[in-house]
């Protein structure tokens, strides 16, 4: 627990982290949008249910 609180304090005081967290946030956001557009089914076709003869 102490290790965690120490780490938290260190991060709070760190100038690199203060800046890096925004870089990380924007990067994750961009990757999520990219992943969505690359993997999502973007078809606007109405649903078609396969029915066997």
């Amino acid at each position: 627990m102490k290790v965690f609180t120490n780490l938290r304090q260190k991060m709070k005081n760190s100038k690199v982290w203060a800046y890096g967290k925004y870089v990380l946030l924007f990067y994750v956001l961009m990757m999520v949008i990219y992943g969505y557009f690359m993997m999502a089914n973007l078809s606007t076709a109405p649903k078609f249910i396969y029915a066997q003869f």
């Binding site: 870089v23 946030l25 990067y27 606007t44 076709a45 109405p46």
Partner: protein, 392 residues
């Protein structure tokens, strides 16, 4: 200011990652030819460029529909029969993938087909009056392949116009896609597109190409499609058809048990029995004699002609026992078979004609899909067609 610079650093990192993914996938998009060819997945059908990458000298492109997905545990299903053979089938199709879709697909991939041959497995059920259903076509419409078809210089203006006209009609339930098709028409056909339309399509095509590459790679990994192994060896021997015939008979007998339709008994209990009474003589007035599908098939054959691809049509029979139960007139079935033969004759195209097998036991696994003996005959005809020049 701090947030703005953070945004640009993140953007650079993101672009670096995206480029890394692009090059990694590009390098690893070639899969095991049998594993990829036998993989039935819409991502694959929509990705013409990736199909071309996975076609080699021994690949025969086989276009069909739902038969690929049914009965994959039978030893005569191509998934199993050609597993270790040097001839690989590149199967394209699932339920409701019909002649028009295959025309577009073929036009998109023809320059990647090394042996210049293609097989189209025709299902009689495609030839209902309306042909392909609009919602089915819309849900199976690949814009990537459609644009590739429009860019194909071997395809005549008339053929493209026919495909565009049919597609626009069938896409009426999907206005955004229909609008884009009209945009493609303005760019590639009439030349009346605005600069913004051209820029939009240029960007959208690149986006679609990237999307299809990534999604096919991810889907193939999830579904366990095997990686390409250049050291893997395959048997160059022709399959022992006699041995498979004995196997087909034995497997068929065991699965059918004693049902009067000679189909898999589990399917008989699940799908036939509950509606046996209701379906009796329900198709007395049915016919496959008049259908829009004939013109779509004609379009497919024109694509073959214009691109120099040699096609073989596989004329599947109907399940005679089931169609008799439906009351579907025998004369009407003969009219359908004859119309296909006539059309093939008109284009000088080879037909693997199995219309005489309507009543062959174990030919079907269910009401419409090929079974143990059915697949065996079809596979043999495809193998002989694919390898005929090598033997001559």
């Amino acid at each position: 200011m701090k947030k703005v610079t953070a945004f640009f650093i993140a953007l650079v990192l993101f672009l670096g990652t995206a480029c890394g993914i692009h090059f990694f996938v590009d390098k690893n998009i070639k899969f095991d030819p049998h594993s990829f060819g036998a993989w039935i997945n819409q991502h694959k059908f929509f990705a013409g460029d990736e199909i071309k990458t996975n076609i080699d000298d021994n690949t025969i492109v086989v276009l069909g529909s739902s038969e690929f997905r049914h009965g994959t545990s039978m030893s005569t299903h191509p998934v199993n029969l050609f597993k270790n053979n040097s001839m690989h089938m590149m199967m394209v199709g699932a339920g409701y993938y019909q002649s028009l879709f295959h025309s577009v697909e073929l036009a998109a991939i023809e320059d990647g087909i090394k042996n210049k041959k293609v097989v189209l497995i025709l299902s009689p059920q495609w030839f209902k009056k309306k042909g392909v259903l609009a919602p089915a076509y819309a849900s199976r419409f690949s814009e990537d392949n459609f644009i590739a078809m429009l860019q194909n210089k071997h395809i005549s203006k008339e053929t493209k116009e026919y495909i565009i006209k049919r597609s626009k009609k069938l896409l009426r339930g999907d206005p955004p896609t229909k609008d884009r098709v009209e945009k493609y028409e303005r760019i590639f056909m009439t030349g009346t597109a605005s600069l913004s339309d051209r820029q939009y399509v240029h960007f959208y095509r690149k986006f679609l190409a990237e999307k299809s590459k990534l999604s096919i790679y991810a889907a193939a990994k999830v579904k366990g499609v095997k990686d390409y192994d250049p050291s893997k060896t395959y048997s160059t021997e022709e399959p022992d058809w006699q041995k498979y015939a004995v196997k087909a008979e034995a497997e068929g007998r065991e699965a059918v048990e004693d049902n009067p339709f000679y189909v898999d008994n589990r399917i008989y209990k699940r799908e036939f029995l509950p509606e046996l009474k209701k379906k009796k003589d329900s198709a007395i007035h049915s016919s496959y004699a008049k259908s829009r599908e004939y013109n779509d098939l004609r379009c497919f054959l024109r694509v073959c002609q214009e691109t120099g691809i040699e096609p073989m049509l596989v004329l599947q029979p109907v399940n005679g026992y089931w169609y008799d139960h439906l009351g579907f007139p025998k004369e009407e079935r003969q009219i359908y078979y004859q119309k296909i033969r006539d059309l093939a004759g008109e284009f000088g195209v080879q037909v693997a004609d199995f219309s005489k097998e309507e009543y062959t036991p174990y030919y079907f696994i269910d009401k419409v899909h090929l079974g143990w003996k059915g697949w065996l005959d079809v596979n043999e005809s495809i193998y002989k067609f694919a390898t005929k020049n090598e033997k001559q």
